[in-house]
Each structure stands twice: as structure tokens, then as C-alpha cells.
Amino acid sequence: MGTPAEETMETRTVEVSDVSGAKVVEADVPSEFSVAEMIRTMVGEMDLPVNDAAGQPVTYRAHLEREGRQLLPSERCGDILQKENHDRITLEPDNIDAG
């Protein structure tokens, strides 16, 4: 039997930071990923808090520095992220309270 064909996957290399700037990673994101999938995966990879002090889920949004905007969860990474120059994304918690 032959060996399985190698899977080639187009990716976009992006620098992702948490809002504190303490955690910065470079990630090769599959082009077919939605922004929601990227956020979900990166929150796990970067060990960001997923529940607040009351145990409620923390929602993260992806801010694309180049365009100065929040990315929509349904957008496709391959459509919005640059191929050559690495984009920078900040994962921002959307609903966090001080008290």
C-alpha cells in the first residue's frame, strides 16, 4: 500500500498578543480557519483565562492592528490576513469587570 499523501495546508503567519503584552506568540494559522476558530485555538494555546472571578465565560475578540478594527468571528483568516508581512493581532477580553 502506498503512503498517504502529505497534506499541504495554506497558512498565514501572524503575531498574536494578549492584552497585557506579556504573552506574544507567532502562529501559522490555516487559511480556512474562521476568526472564531483562531480565537478559540489561540486562547487555549496562550493559556488565557476562560472564566472570570465569578466563573462566567470571558469572551475574546481579535483586534487586527493593521486595519485598526475588530475582526468578525465569521471572517476567513485567509481572506483578511496578509501572506507576506506578518499581521499583528491582539486578543482583547470583551466583558471584564473591576469592582
Partner: protein
Amino acid sequence: MKYQFELTFSQEDGALLTSDSGEPVGPIPVTVDFDPAREWAKFQVLCAGRADGQPVRAGDPEPVWDSRRGAPYVRAFSITATANGDAMACEFPLTYFAAAARSLSTYFVNKGRLKAGEIFHYHVTSRPAAPLTRGGAPQKSRLAVRRKGPAFDVHEDVGLDAMMRVARPYDRPGNDDMPVFVPQAVLDEVSRLTIDAGSLEAGGFLLGHLHRCPETGGLFLRVSEQIPAEFTQGELTKLSFSGETWTAARHTVRTRGVGEIMTGWWHCHNYLMETCKDCEKREQGACKAQADFFSQDDLFLHRTAFLTAFSIAMVASNSPCSGLTFALYGWRQGMIQRRGFYIVSNHTDTGGRDG
């Protein structure tokens, strides 16, 4: 993680906590947030001048065995941080597990094993973490991820002595904490915004620079400005930050263009202006109520948004009885502690807004 940490509880008299059958309860594996400790270990490398702009990486916590009882009893844990091929181990006290112990104690109170308010002791043990079985192995991420270090410029244009000459201590700054200098003008603005907020919470961000004294090599933080937090919702006991809050703050920092970093944040606890306004004790002058504490929500926000070990948080408290007071909080060995700082009231030769 190579090691798993566990807690065993005993009552004040030393008797181990037991179950209904009389068997000792525990040791109980605990999941602890070690990221603040990793950041502290990395910061020690920066303090020692060993990072030089290179990424600093921190490993997993490892037990430091109790020299009298030996493994599995732990007297501390250590994390090794590396930069430029140079490794530095940093030790952390067992008080790091206090939050986990308190959380578990609530469970034991609910189960009747402890009484509410009862004093208890916890002991920390550790053993190698069990290898993940096939079913428990994490799914391979579809992303290839490479860790990078944060980029923090450390300025060497002003000495610590020069700063101390024009600063006065507030809240007894200790020798173990990296000095933090806050201009009087920044405190005045925080005061104004706190008073303007009435009985509601308000907040903002503290911008500044990290410095290394050219003479001593020691690090210190110099706050230069506060910017109000936009797109927030202030209530009597809550201040809600949205995603736009962080975007707007980063935009302001970039627009200012003077190489500042977000060194921390501030917010005010003003609810006493409402709850104490008709209080008899206030009329008698018999109350000194303040609200400059750091709540669990504040802890969570600080850990989420200000994880770097030199980050600070200021709490302003306004009350009819005590007036306006300030408290500064910061990381110390991976735990948030109240700490002192210095108020700069005179303009220094090095420029910047001091006083």
C-alpha cells in the same frame, strides 16, 4: 507540567481532616495558576540585567523538597527562567497556594468537615504528574505556535538617586519592591476623575516607562500619565471594560508617540459616598471607613490584562469619613500585594511630567 501539586488539610490542633469513615482527606490535587509566578521569574532575569532585549522563557514549577521530611513534602516551589542561554531559578513560598486552599476550605465547610471561621492549616506535597493516556492526551493543535518574548524598552536616562531626591514616600514603600514613581499631577487627575464620578466607579490606565538606574543597575517604574478608560460602564460597585476600552487605550498610547507602555491601571471605589452619606457615625466623626481594597474582580482583571510582573494597579477610595485615599497594588512573587510608592512633586532635569 512535570509535577502535580497537592494539598492536605489539618485543623488548628494539627489533626488531619478526615472523611466520614475516619480516613484522612487528601492529598488533594490542585490546579493552580502558575502564570503570574512564571512572569515573576522572567522579571527577575530582567532585573538582573540578563535579558538585554532577548525573549525570556520560564519553565514549569518544580517542587523544592522539605529538607527535614523529604519528598513528597514541599517547602517551596521554583521556576527557572532562561534568556540568552542563561538560566536563573526563582523560588516561591507556599503562600502561593493559599487561594487554592481557601477555595477548598469553602468546600469542606459546606461538607461539615470544617466550621465557618475555623483556623486550618494546609500542607503542600508534590509528585510527578501522571503521563497522559491516549484518551486524555490533548488534541494536536492545527496551529504551529512559536513563543516570543514581549518587547519592553528599558530606559537608562535617569538615576534612582535623582528620582529619590524629588520624591516622597507614600504608604511605606519597602526595599523588596521595585520603586514606582507617580507624579503628583497624575494623582491630582485621578482625584479629579474620582470625585467627578460621584458614587460610581471610574478608571483609567497608567502610562509610563521602565527605567534602569545607570549607577546601580536597579529597575524602577516611572508613571508619566494617566488616561481615562473609555467605553466603560461605571456602576456603584462595578466598572465594566469592553473590548473597545483596550483598543482605545492602545491607540492613545501609540498616538502619544513617546514610547510609553501601559504600566498599569487605576479605578476608584466610591460606593461609600452613597452608603455613608446619612450615617450617624459620620456626623459624630467616629468612622474611618475606606474602600481602597483590591477585590476578586480587580484581581482577575489585573491577572488578565496586566500579567507582566512590573504592572501596577491603583485604587482610589472616596468616602465622606476618610476623604480621598490611594492604595497601590503590584505583583510580588507572583501574588498581588499592596505596596508603597513615591510621589514626585518637583520637576526633574530629565523632563517628563513630574508635579
